[in-house]
Amino acid sequence: MASSPCNSYSEPPIIEQVITEFFAKSLHIILESRSPFVSSRNYSLDHFASSPSSSSSSSSSRPRDKWFNLALRGCPAALENFDLWRQSNLEPLVVDVLLVRQSSTMDMTRLSPGRCLLRNPSGKDKFPMSPRQDELGTRSEKIIERWIVQYESRKNSNFGKEMYLGSRKSSGVSHHSSEIPTLYKKTYKRTTVMLRSLYLFVRLLPAYKLFRELNSSGRIRPLSLSHRINFFIEPFTQAEDAEMNQFSFVPIDTPCGRLCLCVSYLPILEDVSSEPSTPLSTQFIMDYVGSPTTDPFKRFQSLPSAGLARRHSWSNDHGGMPSGSPSPSPTYSDSQAVHYNPTVHLPPHHLHDQPRSAISIPRNALAARKKNTSFEDYLSSFPFSAASSPFTPTHFYGGHLPNSLLRSGSAPVSIPSSRHGRNCGLLDQALPPSSSKPTRPGYSSQTDLLRAQNTSASRTSSPEGKLQTKKDPLSLGDFQTGISSAKAFSFGKDEAGTLPGLKCSSTCIPLSRSSSRLSLLDGFDDSEFDYPFADDEDTTESCNRLELSEGKDQVSLNLETRGLVPVPRSPDAVVGALVRMLNTAPPLRQDLSNSVRSSQVFRDESWIPRIQHKEDMEAEVEKSESPVSSSGITASGLPKPRTTADALAELRSYKEMKELLVKQGGSQSSDDNCKDKSADRDSS
């Protein structure tokens, strides 16, 4: 009588081990293709050599991964504790593959895909490896697959009878103890084949594609895969069951039972690629709008030829700042480049990382304040000078400007580097250290300061900001600087031959002049530049005019738009022009308070502006909040458009003033003499 190894409804130990390893291997295969981080773990071939399940069998010398001749990569975390938590082979192994939708980005960053929820048989306690609730945040889970691996013993009443009845008909099952090795081999072989099929099958289901996409994208997605291992079968709802497809592997008969493996899966899953996702790693976005990376000219701060600032970096685009500058050594080509470039660009140097908005002043603001004769308005008119009624430098400098320069320059001009900055309070706000040198050689620095002035002014592109600049005691210098810059700007353009309507005299200072201020000054006797001053109304009109131009005047226009800084072609040129004008202007007496203040404004003597016109200055002083109103125009805001006639008139006024002063001085001296005499008389 053959003894059945299943009398006790217990498998032979070797078969028991096969069953145990079958559970483990099935779990491994499933998790390896569903849990994103399973394969990341290094798994030693002999890692589980000492595991209880493997050591209990006579043939347990093989490492776990070599069971069923299927060496797998990685070791799921769940598998490590699997043997600890699984109490019996009679317990089913239920692996739910979950599609987790995370609602919060914060949660997503902390969500660890592939986290495993293990439940004890009671189903209530969570194992340590389960994620904390606070980590999960708000998330929804949906079972997309359910794998059920179970061993059905004959102990089971229904199955046991079937097995008992079927065993007699089965051709491959023997219950003799002597046949255990044969049984073992057969069971092992069939189990091996089944696991081969499982390995292939898990890769054919839709969840595998989802797994691959989530595992390889490296991006934070609202969707993620997770899994949950239970040791009991939680039935689906009717709705869930209706949408699931089922597939069952052919059970493998064992001496005392059978191994079953089946899966319920959703045939259609969500398209992960359509979900928004964010990069996993924090990255600095370097190419944001307005960054130096997107504005190449911004980087080239020392390249004077990089005068290809874009218009948008100057105009209403607050995110841009022109970089690059045709000055201090603008060449003809640079000018031409500027000509074709609609944007005004400032000298690149010393204006590192200046936000574009710092120098971007909407023309709307400009137009709205056109009635305001503030210094900012005045400066803002600078870019329009080319197209507007030219302001003759003679108005300031004695009217030695040729008529040609008084015409509005329509050609684009390059913005020289700031040359007045050191004298400009505006510039103090954004003075780079190098540009604060109040030395003559620092024309480039002045240019930088000028640009910094632009920057700072445009940064505070608000009335308050402009008022701040207006209140600056150095605003006169700004004005003067702007005037000179504009003049040089226009002049330089003319010299470059790109300024229509501007005629250069022989003494025109070309744009191609180097940053040598002396050379600029020398060549600035007959300033041919068209000082880009315009009335408020004219400024607006010229803004429009210039806007519509092909781009010739857009450089200056943009300056006007910014409303702060004149657009000298080069700092040296502008400086030279201004100085030349100042030098040619008649000196003023000390009793002219404006002159005193103006001298205070400009530390550099060469920058001491000559009082243009007493009346104008006084008028400007009244309107201006700046204590320095000697320049009149600078302090008070938008300058009036200057024509040759104005310049001549101013010159006449200078002369008259001079005569008056002389007379006054003479009379005063005579009075003093008289007083002295009377005092002497009295004393005597």
Partner: protein, 193 residues
Amino acid sequence: MNCETCQLKELVVEPLEIRDVLRCILHTIVFHRALGLVRPKDVDCELFEITYVQCGDAELERKIDEKIDLFIGWVEKHPNKKSQVCLSFYEVRNKQATWMFSNKTERLYWEQWYINLHVINTKTHGKSHNSKAPINPGDNALEESSSRRASLESALHEVLFQIIKFVNEKKDHIPSVTNSEVISFPYEITTPR
């Protein structure tokens, strides 16, 4: 021992798709019959979004590619024909020599897989790709091509499922493993001649 035969679902393929399809199917079948120690290697199809598994045996890979080349060569000579590629597993038995001079070995096939392919040539079907054709394939041709490719992918998916079902249903005919080779059983791939 019976010889289990599995006729796989016919696949309509283009010449360029032959290699990818045959590789997928052949490796999938052999993987089920490679009962030696294998380290599975996941391979993504080049033309389809299907991942199949290889045994990792270089010799097997070489043999399969070799047979595929032969088949492709035959297809080029016999375009637009239905054909079969047969993968057979057999046992070698020494046939007792009836004659003193012969000692033949006998192959007992215990499993045969017939991969049915219908190779179509789009050129001969009016969808010319040569330069002489009007350079205006249009969206229709592109849509048809992609549709056909998707259909083939689905069909290939079904074939793989068919293989898995067959392998799971038929296990008793598998002979015992008598060696430690990766490919436990000898096999041969037969292409049309």
